[in-house]
Assembly symmetry: D2
Homo-oligomer: 355 residues x 4
C-alpha cells in the first residue's frame, strides 16, 4: 500500500500506478480530500518496495502481505486447504501432535562412554530425541570447539556414536550443522539437522540443509524479530521442505548492569508465532537462561505458553561437562521436568475456547 503525501500531484500518482503495473500488479487508487492511498492488488512480494518509497510524492510504502507466505496459516488454509497444525513424524516420534516432545543431551559430545551414559539416562527420563554438538559454535577462538574441530575423522566418529546411541536407546538424533561443508557428512548420521541461532541468517546453509529433505530444527537468532525469524524459515520451505521445527532460545538482553540470564527468553513469541504459522515451535531454556536453576521453571512455562516441546542440556555430572556446565541439568531433574510438563500440557490442552 502506497500512501501519498498530501501535496502529491496527479502526475506523481500516475507514476506510482505505472510503476506498480510494471511488476504485473493492479493499483487501486483511493482519493480522499486530504490524501491519496494506492493499494496493491496481486503478489506484493514481486514489488521492490524501496523503489516505490523513493518515487516523488510518496510518503510511505507499506507492505500488507507477510514475507513468510509459504509457512503461513493463510497459505495453508487458502491454497492447500489444510487447517491443522503440521505434525512432523520421525519413526515413533511426532512433533506437533499435542504431546510435548523432549530433546535432551550433552551440549557437546565428549566421549562415546559419556554420550551413551547420558543417552540411556534421558531415554529413561522420558526424552525421545538425543541432542549433542559435534561442531560447536563458540564465542572465543580460544575455547573448546567440539570434537569436530579435531579433524573430519574425529567428527565422523563422534557422529557415529550419536547414531549408534540413537539406535541402541531408541532415540531420534539431532545435531547442529555449522557450515555448508558439514551438511553432507552430518546428514548421513543425524535424523534432524539443527541450524543454530548464529546461523539463522545464513541463507546458503539454509538452502543446502533444506535440500537434504530431513527435518530441520531451526533456531531463532538472538537479534531477530519474529518476522525475520519466519522469513528465514521461508528459505527452508522454499526448497519444498516444510518439516521445520522452530526453536525459541532467547534474544539479546536489554538494559544496563548485570544480566541475570544469558539471553532474554521471549516466551510470548510461542503463542504469537502459532497464530502465524502451522509449524511447531519448541523452546530451549538452557541456552536462553544459561542457568540450570531456572530450567525447571522455564520448561514448565514454555509448555504452558503452548510450546510443542522443550530442548535441554543434560549431563550425568554437570560439573564435569567441558562446555556450558552452568546450564546443564541432571537426568533426575529432566524426569521431574517431563512429568510436570506433561501435566501442564494436559491442563492447557483442555481449553475449550481456543481464542
Amino acid at each position: 500500500m502506497i500512501i501519498m503525501k498530501s501535496e502529491a500531484t496527479q502526475e506523481q500518482v500516475n507514476q506510482v500506478v505505472a510503476e506498480i503495473q510494471k511488476y504485473g500488479l493492479r493499483a487501486d487508487v483511493s482519493r480522499g480530500s486530504f490524501r491519496t492511498v494506492i493499494g496493491l492488488v496481486g503478489d506484493e512480494r514481486k514489488i521492490p518496495f524501496d523503489h516505490l518509497a523513493v518515487l516523488p510524492g510518496v510518503k510511505e510504502a507499506l507492505r500488507v502481505e507477510i514475507p513468510y507466505k509459504l509457512i503461513s496459516w493463510e497459505y495453508s488454509k487458502s491454497i492447500e486447504g489444510v487447517s491443522e497444525p503440521r505434525i512432523i513424524k520421525l519413526g515413533e516420534v511426532s512433533i506437533g501432535n499435542g504431546e510435548p516432545v523432549f530433546i535432551a543431551g550433552p551440549c557437546a559430545v565428549e566421549s562415546k562412554e559419556s554420550l551413551f551414559k547420558i543417552a540411556e539416562a534421558i531415554k529413561k527420563a522420558g526424552a525421545s530425541i538425543l541432542r549433542g554438538g559435534v561442531f560447536k559454535p563458540r564465542s572465543s577462538v580460544h575455547s573448546f570447539q567440539g570434537l569436530g574441530a579435531e579433524g573430519l575423522d574425529e567428527a565422523e566418529e563422534a557422529l557415529s556414536w550419536m547414531q549408534e546411541a540413537g539406535k541402541k536407546f531408541e532415540l531420534m538424533v539431532a545435531t547442529e550443522v555449522r557450515g555448508e561443508s558439514q551438511v553432507e557428512l552430518i546428514a548421513r548420521y543425524a535424523d534432524i539437522l539443527q541450524i543454530g541461532a548464529r546461523n539463522m541468517y545464513d541463507q546458503d546453509l539454509l538452502t543446502t540443509v533444506a535440500r537434504r529433505g530431513k527435518p530441520v530444527l531451526f533456531k531463532r537468532h538472538f537479534g531477530a524479530g519474529i518476522e525475520e525469524f519466519l522469513s528465514f524459515a521461508e528459505y527452508v520451505a522454499a526448497e519444498g521442505n516444510k518439516d521445520i521445527i522452530l526453536c525459541e532460545r532467547g534474544i539479546v538482553p536489554v538494559g544496563k548492569g548485570k544480566s541475570y540470564t544469558r539471553y532474554n527468553l521471549d516466551l510470548a513469541s510461542v503463542p504469537a508465532i502459532q497464530k502465524e504459522t502451522y509449524l511447531p515451535i519448541v523452546v530451549d531454556p538452557s541456552h536462553a537462561t544459561g542457568r540450570r536453576d531456572l530450567i525447571y521453571s522455564m520448561s514448565c512455562a514454555a509448555i504452558a505458553a503452548g510450546a510443542a516441546g522443550v530442548m535441554v542440556e543434560v549431563h550425568y555430572n554437570p560439573t564435569e561437562a567441558l562446555v556450558d556446565a552452568q546450564q546443564a541439568i541432571t537426568p533426575d531433574e529432566l524426569k521431574e521436568i517431563i512429568t510436570a510438563c506433561r501435566k501442564i500440557r494436559s491442563v492447557v490442552a483442555s481449553r475449550k475456547n481456543k481464542g
Copy 2:
C-alpha cells in the same frame, strides 16, 4: 573489589587502600605475580565506586555486594533470621502464600455502572483484587487520560466507586498513583497503591507512597534491568515498608520490523528474581503483550514460571472499552484462566527438589 593494572605501582596500591579506609572499610590486598587485587571488607554501599575507578593504577572497580540489600534473601536470612518468602495479607487475601492471586478489572474506570458490572463479574470468576485506573498515564497528550484528568472531584468520585465496588463484592482495591500530588487522595480509597512502569524511577513518588504504609504494587520499567528494578524497590523498603508486590510487565522490544507483541514479557525474570528476594512477584500479560489472544497462554506461563499471581485487564465488552480495547479479555476468559492457573500452580508446587 578493586583490580589494579598490571603496571600499577606500590604507591598507587597504597592510595587505593587509603581511600577505602577513609570510608570505614578494610582493604584486603592480594598480590599476584601478574596483578594485584584489593578486596573491600565492610559495607560496600558506603563507597563511591566512581572515585575508586578513576584513581591512578586502577583497572576496574567491581561491586560484589548487591544494591538491594534490604529486600534480599541474604539480608532476610542472615540479619532477620527469616528464610520464608514474605506473605502480604490484606483482609482475606494473601499474596505470596503459594495460592495464585488474580488482580483484574478495567484498564480505566469509565462509569460507576460499568465498574460494578466488571467487579461483580471478576469476583464470580475467582479474582480477589479489583484494579482500575483513575489517573491514566498515556503516550499521547491527545488521548483519553482517565477520569482523573477531568478534575479532582471527578477523580475522587471514581475512587469512591472503586472503594464501594470493593466492599460490595469483597475485593481488595488497587489503583495507580501517577504523581506525588495524588498520593494523599488515593490512599484514602485504595487498599494497594500501584506504581506504574513509567514511574519506577520516580524516587520521590516511591518514598511518598511507601510512607503511607499500604502495600505497594511496584511495576518494572520497560527499560530497566532486574538489578535496577530491585534497586528501586529498595527505595520503598528503605522507608520501612516491605509490603511490596513486584510486577513484571514486559521490557522494550528489540529488533527490526513489526513487533508482534507490544513489549517483551521477560518471564525468566520471575524465577531469577525469586532467587534474589523474598518478595512476591506477579505478572501483567495485558500490558506486556497488548493482545487479548495471548493472555491465556501468557497467564498460564507466568504461573508455571512461579509467579505469585496475574494481573489482567477485563471488560464485559472489550470492544467498548475506552482504553486498550485490544488487550482486554472477558470475564469468561478470566474464569478459564483462573481455573487453568490453579491447576498449573498445583503441578509446580508439588516439585520436590526446589533446586
Copy 3:
C-alpha cells in the same frame, strides 16, 4: 487507515465507516479485488485506534498522522506558515541559531566554592549555560542524592548559589526538576527547567513545568523510541510552551556481556529528529557514555551530526567529584572540545545541498 481482512463482509466495512463517522471524520473506502482499505480523512488523533482494530473484519488499523503534531514541521509550515527552525533566546544566549551552545557544570552542586570555581572555568572555556544538579535522581537509595535531599533550606541555598554564579559569570542556569513539588522552588532560581530522562514519561510533571513558561530542557528516556520522545514533548507544547530544547542522552545498551559505554548514544536520532520537528536538539555525551575519555570524540560527533549544542559534566578536579567522577572532564578539555566543535559546525554549516 483501516486495512480490512480479505474475507471482510460489506456489513463489516459499513460498521467501520460508521465508527469513523461517529468521531467526526470522513471515511474513504477503496475496494480492490483482493482487499478493502478505508482511509480516515480528518483529525486522526480524535479516533481511538484500539477500538477500530478490534472491530470485526479489520486486519490492521494504521495511524498515518504523527502523534506530535504541535511540534512538527508539518504543523509549523502548514498552520503557522513558519519554515525556520525555532530559536530559543535567553538573554544573550540563543539556542538553535546555528552557533553550537555549550551547557556545562558539575553533575551535582556540592559547595558554593566549588560551584563558583567551576562556573568561572566553564565561562572562560566558552560555555554559556551552567548546569548543576540539586535534586539528583539516583539508582540506589544508599547513594548521595544531592543537596536537595538534605532539606528544603539546603536545596534553596544551593539553587541561590546557581543563580548567583550565573549572574556573576554571565551564564544562564539550568537545573533538573525531579518532581512536581519542586517546580515552584526551582523556577524561582533557574533560567531553564530540565526534565531528566527518568522523568520523560511523567506527564503531570511535564504539564506543571511547561506552565511556568520558562524554557524546558527535555531529555529522552533511555527506553524511549523517537516517536515516544516527541509525543511526550508534545505534552509541553500542548500547554502553549514551545521553548523546548530536546536532549539525546543515550538509550539502553543491547547485547550480552560487558558494556563499554553506560548507554548507547543514538546520534542518528539528531538528524532524524530534525527532519520531524523545528525544535533544537542538544546531546549529552557524559551520561550517555559514562566515560570521560570518550567525551571529546562524542561531542565532536554530535555537532557533526547536526546537534544545536552539547551538555557536559565538568569538574576542576574530576577525582574529587561526589557523583559520576568517571564521566567528568576538566575545563581545559572543555575548551578543547568547544574549539573543535565550532570548527566542525562551520564545516557542516557550509553544506549547500541540505538534502
Copy 4:
C-alpha cells in the same frame, strides 16, 4: 578471578585452587574477614570458567583478561612492542594512517555498464575503494539475491567487472563473501574480502577467509556487543591475518513503535573500540540508517568520532537501483561528504591531549 561465598569452607577453597592448578595456572588466595577471593595468575583463556563457576562455595567467576588478546593494545604493546595503530596498505591506499578512506559503490552489482559508470563517478568524487555485492544476503527468499544467485558463471562475470573497473579507475575492490563455498572464487577477483554483519558469528567462514591472507573488512553483527565483535575478529587474527578493517553498521533498534532508522548506529563504539585495539574501524551509515537523507550527517559524525573511513552506497540514479534504493546517495553527494569529512578529520587530528 573467583569470588567465594561468605560461607565457603576451606575445603571448597582448596578445591578451586586445585582446579585452577590443573590447567597450569597459579592461584592467589586472598582471605578477608568477610569473603575469600582467588585470583588467577597465568593465561586465563585456558580455563573453562563455567566449570569454576559451578564448583561448591563459588559465588562468581569473573574473567579479568580480555577474550580478544591478539588484536588488543595490551598484546601489541607488551608482546610485540608496537604502540602505533595498524595501517593496512593496499597499493596506493592506506587504511588507518589518519587520512579518512572512502569505500563506495552500488549495493548490488547490476550490469557492467552501470558498475563502470558508478566506479568512474566515485573515483572522481574522491573514493579509493569500490564496493559492490555479487552474493547479496537478503531477508526474504522472494527478493532479488544479486547476480551470484543466477549461477556461478554469472557470479564470476560480475566479479570480473569489479576487478576490471578497479583497474580502469584505480580503485581497490571489496566484495562480500557470504559462504565458505564462495571464498576461492571471490579471492581471485577482490582485493578486500568482506564479512557481512549476518556472518559475523560464522567461525568457519572467518577462518577460511582469514587464510587467504587478503585484508578482511569485518562488519559487526547487529545483535553483537563490542566484546563479542572483537572476540570474533580474533578468529581472523588467530590465523595470522591481522589486516582486519572493523566496520560498525548499527545494532538492532530498541523501543516500541516506528523506527526512524533501520538500525541504531553505535558511534560511541568507534572511540571505545579504538581504546581496545590497534585495528582501524570504518563506519557504514547506509545500512545503519537505511535513509539517504541521513548519510551526510552520519558520515561527518563518524569521522568526528574518529573513524578511519566511511563506507557508503552510491548510485548515479538511486531510484533505479534494484536493491536498497532508499539508502543510496548520488556521486555529487559523495563528493560533498568527502570534502566535509576531510575537513573534520583535520580538526580532530589537531587535538593535542589525546586523552
